[in-house]
Amino acid sequence: MIRRAVRYLDRRAGMAPALKKALRYVFPDHWSFLLGEVAMYAFFVLVATGVYLTLFFEDSTAPTHYHGPYKPLDGMEMSHAYRSAVDLSFSVKAGLLMRQTHHWAADVFIAAIVLHLIRILCTGAFRKPRELTYYIGVTMLLLALLEGYLGYSLVDDLLSGMGLAIGYSVALSLPFIGPNFAALVWGGPFPGSGAFWSRMYIAHVLILPILIGGLLLTHLALVAARHHTQFRESPRHTERRVVGVPTFPGYAPRSLGLACAVAAVLFLLGWLVQINPIWLWGPYHIGSSTNGAQPDWYLGWLIGALRLVPGFDVVIGHYTVIPNPFWGGALFPLLVFGALYLWPRLERRLSGDYAFHNLVERPRDNPLRTAAASAFLTWVALVFVAGSADRVAVYFGLSYVGQIWFYRVFIWVGPAIAFFIAKRVCEELVAGEHAEKVRKAAEERAKAVFEQA
């Protein structure tokens, strides 16, 4: 039967050589290489659960009234979008499971991308000839953030409505073109025209997923074209030969096992751990908001940045040039992604290393890069943590104002400290390895001398 299938495919599509090559493609093995795969499998779960949700969700902000099993909302005025999201949580079979799994999958998807990115940054896997793969990866992260934001905004609950108001304010704050741009996207001043919801919906369920999917395929094709990188684990692992487990029979069951494990974890989370209970937030109205508002984790760095900027607009005479949300909501992410996009070029320029690399470095092997990456990540992480200062104020009684002033200084001091610590740790680790090598050699020699005597 296998024999017949192979013959059939080869005679129709001439696929035997390509298939043979694909099945014997070599996968170097290291636990950190799985992070990207976790992201990919989370994306598959997102598509699968998302398709199910689209069958029930209504992308309209036209007002309606809720009548259903959840009594606290009974008779309340809300949009069709919110009502259908509540209905699919309570009245559609497996609806709540799918919605929660979808939400968890989005959080895990972006977390896996970020960890994967950190791995790539700290091991130098982005170097020539893999810059394109890297740029595409960073672009996918950007699109994934936007996709996640649109996804939870669509529901039109109180929390997401506030998120949209903030997004609108950031768009409006773009110098000079802000109001024109916001009017274009929203179809008028906030909350915008009814068409805005259709725009978000089509972007969330079609345009962005297709872009991410297309970039994912390109990403994988580029990885395959140049083969995976590998660590120098043995003398066999060189710049010229890649060592690892072939797709078939060794690697395929492992990877599929990982796929099932990712899906299992996501569905178990969707079952066991409540996430975004929209019925508790209530419907969004422009004049309402909830206290202690926190977005999904992957937007924490932006809310932190918006909160840290001191209160000023750039005003010349009586003319407002740059409104405040621009700094935290637009410039900060621009700088972060700018740094990510420029990293490979900058490193090449600064280190003078223009060579091809198939071997990746352990973080300690390149202390300067690891230190720079640590400083950069600490900067973003501190801004992220600053976004939760209000929760810290509630739970630990620390002054909110005091915390904000602390972070306003520490987001600049912290990275410098991280830089020196990381550099020193790397250097000490390398020195320790060297000392170990010297010790072993000396012991060997002593042993030899002893045996002679």
Binding site: I2, L23, V26, K93, M162, A165, I166, S169, L172, P179, N180, A182, G188, P189, P191, G192, R199, E239, V242, V243, G244, V245, T247, F248, P249, G250, Y251, P253, R254, L256, G257, L258, C260, A261, A263, A264, F267, L268, W271, H285, I286, G287, S289, T290, I303, L306, R307, L308, G311, F312, D313, V315, Y319, T320, V321, P323, N324, D390, Y400, V401
Partner: protein, 332 residues
């Protein structure tokens, strides 16, 4: 897709493996020989079976309407089915398939011959042109302009050049204030120490200009900038409820129960904690907002109902370039 196919192939191999006759021994194998492991095989079959049972359980729960509150059973059965399948595949990978380590050369860094051929191909193809630059520019101009033309209809997405609508509010002199329940608000309902939400009567509530936050302060504590001395009758102050930083609704009123800790009452936005002083005309005392909260002049009408005495002191909602040059306007 490829992995899916591989997996299918693997499954088929496993299912048929028992019945197929041993292939004749060939001298050079692709995959090295390894001894069978019957125990691992038994466990594998068990794991597949349990996974199937769990998946069947999921179908059963969906099919049975009598089970109320299905989510726990659905999540458990589906999650466990996937988990057992994952365990089976990991066992398959670790104990049952041959995991050989092989190596192969990395792809060559570049292909100089093909590169030269491509250069030549393009150079020779363009030989007939005498004014290459001009032709290229003309071509790029045509394609670029066509691209712009195709993008031009996008301006109909929104009122891209109409910026007056950003400063329009439903308020005008005499407009009634209504509460969340739609009833007119009376001056004597407004107490000190708490805040009230009000909307413009007979107007769309879902626009940035409509919602107000109302507080009452002792007249002696008011320090409103001129000419707002008469804007707060009986000490009742009305501000736009929309934060001038990022457009969230102000829903925290910091009222000093302990004057030593918090010296004065303040309106706070829960999104980024912009803090406004209602006593001094909505000035920013902390947080990222760059503009005071717009104040609405109030008047107490007959039988104590609250009415607007004009429009806001400044544009409502988040700022944009040139926001201070706009005066709030009432709809025509």
């Amino acid at each position: 897709m490829r992995r899916l196919f591989d997996w299918l192939v693997a499954m088929i191999v496993l299912l048929l493996g028992r019945r197929r006759r041993k292939p004749p021994e060939v001298e050079e194998r692709i995959v090295p020989h390894a001894p069978p492991d019957r125990r691992a095989e038994t466990v594998l079959i068990f794991l597949f079976t349990v996974s199937a049972v769990c998946a069947g359980g999921f179908i059963a729960v969906v099919a049975l309407d009598r089970i109320g509150n299905q989510t726990p059973y659905l999540g458990l059965s589906l999650g466990l089915s996937l988990a057992f399948l994952a365990a089976a595949l990991v066992l398959l990978a670790k104990r049952l398939v041959v995991t050989e380590e092989i190596d192969e050369p990395y792809t060559p860094v570049e292909h100089p011959v093909e590169q030269a051929e491509l250069d030549e191909l393009i150079a020779e193809s363009g030989e007939r042109f005498t004014r290459k630059r001009l032709v290229t520019m003309a071509g790029a101009g045509a394609v670029g302009t066509l691209g712009l033309a195709l993008a031009a209809p996008l301006v109909s997405l929104g009122p891209v050049f109409d910026l007056e609508s950003f400063a329009t509010t439903p308020w005008r002199r005499g407009r009634l204030l209504v509460g969340e329940d739609g009833r007119p608000l009376h001056a004597d309902e407004i107490e000190e120490g708490t805040f009230y939400t009000a909307y413009a009567a007979h107007a769309d509530r879902e626009q940035l200009g409509s919602p107000l936050v109302l507080v009452r302060l002792p007249l002696s504590e008011l320090h409103l900038p001129s000419p707002r001395e008469r804007w707060a009758p009986q000490g009742i102050l009305a501000y736009s409820k929309i934060c001038t930083h990022a457009g969230c609704a102000i829903s925290l009123y910091r009222y000093p129960l302990y004057p030593e800790a918090e010296p004065r009452p303040a309106l706070v936005c829960p999104c980024h904690y912009s803090t406004f002083d209602p006593a001094t005309g909505g000035t920013v005392i902390f947080g990222p907002a760059g503009r005071p909260l717009p104040q609405l002049p109030l008047a107490v009408g007959s039988r104590g109902v609250l009415r607007a005495a004009g429009n806001f002191s400044g544009p409502v909602g988040p700022s944009w370039s040139g926001v201070r040059d706009h005066k709030p306007s009432s709809p025509a």
